[in-house]
């Protein structure tokens, strides 16, 4: 029952969606660009996240969330670095420095930020270890995945929308015939001007991307903007998929068709 693969084939958003829908318990380990993340779930809720090699103990998390003053943080790091997050949390609550809600919110925010970073990872091996839980000494939260998925979906939607709008980079571009429109007076970014300078019915979008050293996503984003502004149009191929004849039975009679299917069923059963 292996849930494993590569982010270039299944996005992090899709994995979160799967974990949410299937209410999985376990830990997702993802090897991203130069770093590895561990994100733990309990019944589809996010309970813990960390990037390996990045220290993210409670003191660091609270300091980042500005729940500790610089002095408090320094003192804790000097004297309290060996105690667990749970013990530290209790001490800080008892001392009145933070509340339980502060701690939970800060950890939640930390987990969300890790998730947001992981949305930018387009490549990397992942595996889901069923029933593997976070380290005992760390404080767990309980975060619904929906909002995180929505944000990831927004990024994915942009990519998919761009792919829908511009499915093939093998097509070429030409300037639209707009009487009175003077391209020189239109305000474009540097990247957009670079693309515009290559627009020619002989150049495919692939070739323009290659010449301007842009990725598929970047070139699509720019061309989409130019399309929306009505400056260019895509020169499409002429061939279209013809409708396939629907007639699939050798007879038009409905009863004969049903009989035929039943004969097929009986024959397959007898194999």
């Amino acid at each position: 029952m292996a849930l494993r693969g590569n982010l270039r084939d299944i996005t992090f958003t899709q994995i979160l969606n799967l974990i949410n829908l299937a209410k999985k318990t376990g830990t997702l380990i993802v090897e991203g660009p130069g770093q590895t993340a561990q994100v733990s779930f309990r019944e589809g809720k996010l309970v813990f996240a960390q990037i390996e090699k990045e220290d993210s103990n409670l003191a660091i998390v609270l300091n980042k969330a500005k729940k500790l003053s610089a002095n408090q943080y320094r003192t804790i790091m000097q004297h309290g670095s060996t105690i667990s997050d749970k013990e530290l949390g209790l001490m800080l609550i008892n001392a009145g420095y933070v509340s339980k809600a502060d701690i939970l919110l800060s950890i939640q925010q930390h987990c969300v930020e890790i998730g947001q970073r992981m949305f930018t990872w387009m490549e990397g091996f992942f595996r889901f270890e069923n029933d593997m839980l976070p380290p005992d000494n760390r404080i767990n939260v309980r975060l619904d995945l929906e909002n995180l998925i929505i944000e990831g979906s927004r990024q994915l939607r942009e990519w998919e929308q761009l792919q829908d709008e511009i499915p093939s980079l093998d097509m070429a571009l030409k300037f639209t015939d707009r009487p009175g429109a003077d391209l020189k007076k239109i305000s474009l970014s540097v990247e957009e001007w670079r693309v515009v300078s290559y627009i020619n019915p002989k150049n495919s979008m692939h070739q323009i991307a290659h010449a301007t050293k842009m990725s598929d996503l970047e070139i699509r984003r720019i061309i989409y903007g130019l399309l929306q502004a009505g400056l260019v149009e895509i020169i499409r191929p002429i061939d279209q998929a013809a409708a396939v004849k629907v007639r699939s039975f050798p007879t038009e009679n409905k009863e004969e068709q049903k009989s035929l299917v039943n004969r097929l069923i009986n024959r397959i059963r007898s194999l």
Partner: protein, 181 residues
């Protein structure tokens, strides 16, 4: 002699040839060519270029032909030709290769656009240790809950029979619902 046709499609090396071979009464007619691409060679030794073709004689009056589409994208011009006049189709997915799921979705959508015939999806290689769970495959393929997703081991005749029967049941259901023209 009446003939009817089903199409078995899916990404490269999903198990289409093995599926047809498991039930065909004739050796599957396959045009083998040396793989031209190094990456495809890494996946399997031989591949079909034109199409797979299998046959099941139902009775004196009726024959079922099984057509397998070529898996590589560069042969997708064959899909439309092969899908003409089909009773229904099966989309095969390799459960151990999630990198092929996106392509499987594209193939599914292409065939649905070609003809509004019933179809099922077969998650093949379910006997392998690294096969994804069926429900995980469903979520990854973003299949509607109404779409039948069936576990399959293409080299196992009983497993292949189950998939074919489920497609036939779907065809019958659609006919009884009066959707067929």
């Amino acid at each position: 002699m009446q003939t009817v046709k089903m199409v078995i499609t899916g990404p490269f090396s999903a198990g289409k040839t093995e599926f047809i071979q498991s039930v065909s009464e004739i050796d599957v007619v396959t045009t083998e060519r040396k793989i031209s691409s190094h990456s495809e060679r890494a996946v399997k030794e031989a591949t079909t270029v034109a199409m797979d073709f299998g046959r099941i004689t139902v009775d004196d009056d009726l024959v079922l032909y099984l057509f397998g589409t070529p898996g590589q994208k560069r042969f997708d011009f064959m899909w439309e030709i092969l899908s003409e006049g089909m009773l229904g189709f099966i989309v095969m997915v390799d459960s151990t290769r999630p990198e092929t799921y996106r392509e499987a979705r594209t193939i599914l959508e292409t065939f649905r656009a070609y003809a509004p015939t019933p179809y099922v999806v077969a998650a093949n290689k379910q006997d392998k240790d690294d096969a994804w769970d069926i429900e995980d495959v469903r979520h990854a393929l973003r299949l509607d809950p109404k779409v039948k997703l069936l576990p399959c081991v293409a080299t196992d005749r009983d497993s292949v029979k189950k998939v074919l029967l489920e497609l036939l049941f779907s065809i019958l259901t659609e006919m009884e619902n009066g959707k067929r023209k």
